[in-house]
């Protein structure tokens, strides 16, 4: 191994400087003992937390943290006139933002070029996974329907952004409450405030109580790095920048394959590697479902 002969140089240099100058050698030395610089085993994901209802001014919101990567998703419902060809369907507009606060690479003038790519990936995955039945967003057939603006903000970018963003989107949808509305005389939908719910009502409210969205197959994802014959689950930003082959597997709760996304990368993925990734994702799926249900249950409590 080339690193050994350079040892006289690295022994007297500090670990921190060696990590900055020879990142690949630094990581490969760890992989030999199948651990990673932050102490995790190869297949273990970072600890994940979900906090629902982080934004009071939004109809549904969630803050998720996977290790240091932090995402804030918020859904605001607005009324739109549905299109002619799908009169009784609402619509979802998904947008992903990387503000300058999330990483040193992003400058206010120049947005990160990964942001539009992730936005497209997220909207493809969410629409094709069918987690939201657009018919539930309809209000008055042909005249009014809900337009759900889902905005996901990356507050701290430390690797596997897609997993954290998808998790925050799914959590925000499960926290979404559709407000009670009624049609007033000018044909505009207006909120019916809870207190005078029982009071005089020119129009009986379109939907009775503040209801939740019925969510069936929730998609969960795991990104892995293929390097030589190692598979590293849930990489940090440093690992992603050194070993560039990423495979993102998205499974839904009925363990159907929603998407398998491998955008090139020096290491070709063989079938065995694909199967290992899918197995890791299945195991990760159970973990995430447990965390999400925990968050939902203690939200119902308070």
């Amino acid at each position: 191994m080339a690193a050994a002969s350079g040892s006289n140089l690295s022994s007297e240099m500090e670990v921190d400087a060696f990590r900055r100058l020879f990142p690949l050698r630094f990581h490969e030395r760890h992989l030999l003992q199948s651990i990673r610089p932050d102490g995790r085993t190869l297949g273990k994901a970072r600890d994940t937390t979900i906090a629902l209802g982080a934004v009071t001014s939004a109809n549904g919101s969630a803050l998720t943290k996977i290790g240091c990567t932090t995402m804030l998703a918020a859904i605001k419902l607005e009324v739109m006139t549905p299109t002619a060809e799908s009169p009784d369907e609402g619509c979802i507009a998904i947008d992903f933002h990387m503000p300058p606060i999330c990483s040193p690479i992003v400058r206010p003038g120049r947005p990160a070029e990964a942001a539009p790519v992730l936005a497209k990936q997220l909207s493809d995955t969410i629409t094709s996974s069918g987690v939201i039945d657009l018919k539930e967003l309809s209000l008055v057939g042909g005249k009014a329907a809900w337009m759900a603006y889902l905005d996901i903000y990356c507050l701290d970018a430390d690797g596997s952004l897609f997993d954290a963003a998808l998790l925050s989107a799914v959590a925000a949808f499960s926290h979404l409450r559709i407000p009670v509305v009624s049609l007033n005389d000018e044909g505009r939908i207006v909120l019916v405030s809870e207190d005078n719910g029982g009071g005089k009502l020119e129009k009986e409210p379109v939907n009775k109580e503040k209801r939740k969205l019925k969510l069936d197959s929730l998609p969960f994802s795991l990104t892995c790095i293929l390097h030589k014959n190692y598979i590293l689950a849930d990489p940090t930003a440093e690992e992603e920048s050194i070993m560039e082959t990423l495979v993102t597997v998205v499974l839904d709760s009925s363990s159907q394959l929603v998407s398998l996304y491998k955008p090139g990368g020096p290491v070709p993925a063989h079938t065995s590697a694909i199967q290992d990734c899918v197995a890791l994702t299945r195991q990760r799926l159970k973990e995430l479902q447990k965390i999400l249900n925990g968050a939902i249950s203690d939200m119902e409590v308070d």
Partner: protein, 258 residues
């Protein structure tokens, strides 16, 4: 079934059923014992929740929550200035404030306070020892997650915490408070409803322990005595806020290194 690719259709947000043509909500009558909508009396600020080191990939960061106003600030640097910049033997400060789309009740309002970035720059400029990092730049980026009223003072205080967390040499922390004038009485730390109906506003950012004012903006009509009354009110609110900020900075250090 892909999401709408073309221009998203025009949408409007269903606002609360407000009766038409109501002049000014009666709660702003001029009698003295009137209590504000969120129960605070005139000279009481909202509870401040502050935390530092919230963004790992930034050199320094801070999160501030004053009632419904939630702000995250991260500081990068001192790092290389942009190529276009000329040589300067004094460090440079670069500030940028942005709003999330869901920060304000209606979607588009975030963009109309473009001048916050230059106001933040002027408020912080006086407190940073620029000579300690020649030729390089310190970037201060703020993101307002939720706009609940008097956003700029919260941004300034949170930014000075983030600078301290990043280890940038400061003359002093910067605490900022704003006061609205409704009828005769001065209302400190106004929420957005109060801001809409204010006749005048008085925003001050100062260095609490050196007792120096770095930024001051006044709008509306004020008589001189009222200005000095507002000034004293704000200065002692700033010193109280300064102590809260200092305890927030000391707290992770005094606790055993986890």
């Amino acid at each position: 079934m892909a999401g709408k690719r073309g221009a998203t259709p025009a949408t409007y947000s269903p606002s609360l059923t407000t009766a038409k043509g109501k002049k000014k909500p009666p709660i702003f009558t001029d009698d003295a014992n009137w209590v504000r909508s969120d129960g605070r009396h005139f000279h009481q600020c909202r509870p401040a929740f502050l935390r530092i080191a919230t963004v790992n990939s930034a050199s320094g960061s801070a999160y501030a929550e004053f009632g419904n106003t939630k702000v995250i600030v991260s500081v990068f640097g001192p790092r290389e200035s942009k190529k276009a910049m000329m040589y300067s033997d004094v460090g440079r400060l670069n500030c940028n404030v942005s709003y999330t789309t869901f920060a304000t009740p209606s979607r588009g309002q975030g963009s109309d306070n473009k001048d916050f970035s230059s106001m933040l720059h002027k408020a912080l400029e006086g407190a940073i020892i620029l000579e300690s990092f020649p030729k390089t730049t310190v970037d201060v980026f703020a993101l307002v997650l939720e706009s609940g009223g008097s956003d700029l003072p919260v941004i300034i205080s949170c930014a000075s915490l983030a600078l301290a967390d990043a280890g940038i040499m400061l003359y002093d922390l910067v605490a900022a408070v704003s006061v609205s004038c409704l009828g005769k009485n001065l209302v400190i730390d106004p929420i957005s409803e109060e801001e809409v109906y204010q006749e005048g506003s008085f925003m001050i950012s100062c260095m609490p322990s050196r007792n120096e004012v770095t930024q001051l903006t006044v709008t509306g009509e004020w008589s001189t005595p009222k200005i000095s009354e507002a000034m004293d009110l704000c200065l002692d609110a700033c010193s109280k806020l300064g102590n809260i900020m200092r305890s927030c900075l000391k707290e992770p250090l005094s606790a055993p290194e986890e």
